[in-house]
Subunit: 196 residues, 2 copies
């Protein structure tokens, strides 16, 4: 079921990214933003490298936050956190009541993902979660040579694309994801690097 809503420039967005794979416990960071402009809060939690706890870990981080009632949209950087720990975006939406948008810089190669997953326990279950994220749609950004790709749960592609564009104030990546990435790498590696 898709929620229909009026989109304000200052729509509250929670962007979530993980850190580099430096151990078994992987730091995840949530950057709580007003649209594409202001960081209003930071939250963090941990999940297991190549584990199966990403959905529960992210869900409980959000639900226990003081910002939970204000978050209008959750943005993820792909559906795979801490290696191959998959996020079930349908369950994340249903368990929080908040629409979820997954953002990717490239169209994912599902065949390559399938091959990687078959070396891990519960490979079929992981693949099913990947597939549950559903259709992948291209979104044009301000940079015509660099579109991004999204998957959605609880929101239509058209509305999701509008939110992606309005929050991409600094690059072709929504600011909440860009900043969550800077924080996660800056804390775990001592200095931020790479791109969300």
């Amino acid at each position: 079921m898709n929620r229909c809503f009026h989109i304000k420039d200052e729509i509250r967005i929670l962007g979530i990214d993980d850190s580099a794979l430096t151990g078994e416990r992987i730091l995840i960071v949530g950057a709580f933003f007003r649209g594409g402009m202001w960081l209003d809060g930071v939250m963090s939690s941990y999940l297991t490298r190549d584990g199966m706890d990403a959905t529960d870990s992210i869900m409980s981080m959000i639900r226990s936050s003081k910002h939970f009632p204000q978050v209008r949209i959750i943005m993820l950087d792909g559906v795979s956190y801490g290696g191959f720990n998959p996020v079930d975006i349908v369950r994340l939406h249903e368990g929080t009541g908040i629409p979820v948008v997954v953002l990717m810089r490239k169209y994912p190669d599902l065949e390559m993902i399938r091959k990687a997953l078959c070396h891990l326990p519960q490979g079929d279950e992981r693949m099913a979660i990947f597939k549950r994220a559903g259709e992948i749609v291209e979104v044009k950004t301000a940079d015509p040579l660099n579109p991004v790709y999204i998957q959605c749960s609880g929101i239509g592609f058209r509305e999701a694309a509008r939110i992606v564009r309005l929050s991409s104030t600094r690059s072709n990546i929504p600011e909440p994801l860009r900043v969550a990435h800077l924080i996660a790498t800056g804390i775990v590696l001592g200095e931020s690097r790479g791109k969300a």
Copy 2:
């Protein structure tokens, strides 16, 4: 010696804050900003609670950063990090070549600080570092009821006040310090809280 420079709206500022005192090793976070608008990088390090390593720890975090050549000003949230670990702002300026501005929400009570320090080893040395931060000057912010107070090394009060005001885009605290505080508390406590 004060450096004279042209102040651009996008002057690169490094704001540094510490986290809550949850153990002996205290996380410090540097938020590297363009003026009061964009977070361009995050760095982090650790110092000892109530130790004497704050100056060296901050100095080496900055000098080892890829952003080091770009940082035009360092902003500190008071001169005491990780409890009563004092930052020598004269030495920090001399060791980095970058001017330092210390920001405080309240005029500090030096007599209370002196009393607290006498319970710690090297109390006199700590007090000397506090005093070396020099004159304290009030800066009017956009909120007339909430001025802030600054100390400076390597920059005049007038220029420092201009940079404080131009970077205080979201509150009466410069954005690099506000965001460094959100990150440090968000990582260590699981959720950001309080004010820089």
